[in-house]
Symmetry: C2
Subunit: 135 residues, 2 copies
Amino acid sequence: MLEVRALTTDAVIEFDGEVLLLKRNHPPFEASWVLPGGFVEQDETARDACIRETGEEVGVDVSVEEFIGLYDDPDRDKRGNVSAAYRCSIRNNQTPTPREEATQVEMFDPNNLPNMGFDHRQIVADALSAYRSSQ
Amino acid sequence: MLEVRALTTDAVIEFDGEVLLLKRNHPPFEASWVLPGGFVEQDETARDACIRETGEEVGVDVSVEEFIGLYDDPDRDKRGNVSAAYRCSIRNNQTPTPREEATQVEMFDPNNLPNMGFDHRQIVADALSAYRSSQ
């Protein structure tokens, strides 16, 4: 059996200069703060999955603004997953609330981020760097 | 069991204005022309896999020049695979030869491409468009 790498997606959602993170309620990185996201399923694109997972985990509809990058360091996730990360924005001023896989949802100052799981701190840094350079 | 999408990679190798394609010797798209590429394995990045697969299939060392895009239309491959595509160049003037998975290797004029498998015609078009706009 070939050991393939599964595609996941993560959403960097910025609002008023702060970034949305959720606290995970399951391993790996249980109780760490992470970006909303998850596995891309067979019938959807990575952008579709980013929108679906954000709805499932933090209860908001987002629009995908920009591809940030493909995060594929073999050491980023012991399960071997790769992430396609997108910068997203919340539609219609909805308020995020913790749903599946999350015990808390909070907005954080990108210069004062909590302990984060996977390589999500790097994804946030890359997202904000790309965003600022396009302004 | 979650139906995840596996990550693969494809290489667009341009030389003297022509693009390298191989004729596949196995399904899907058996006997169609495609880009060199294949599954990203657990211990490597997509760029690593692009270099390894090109060596295995057409016998040349390449350097990866540029990320072209993530090809994730659910209809692109009935097995559900997603491709990270890269523009590559051949190192040291090596001559491509068909090896694993290939019955033939040829260079094609991008304006006169043969019958191609997957969405590889689109990947070639995107690669050359990005390349030309950066000149």
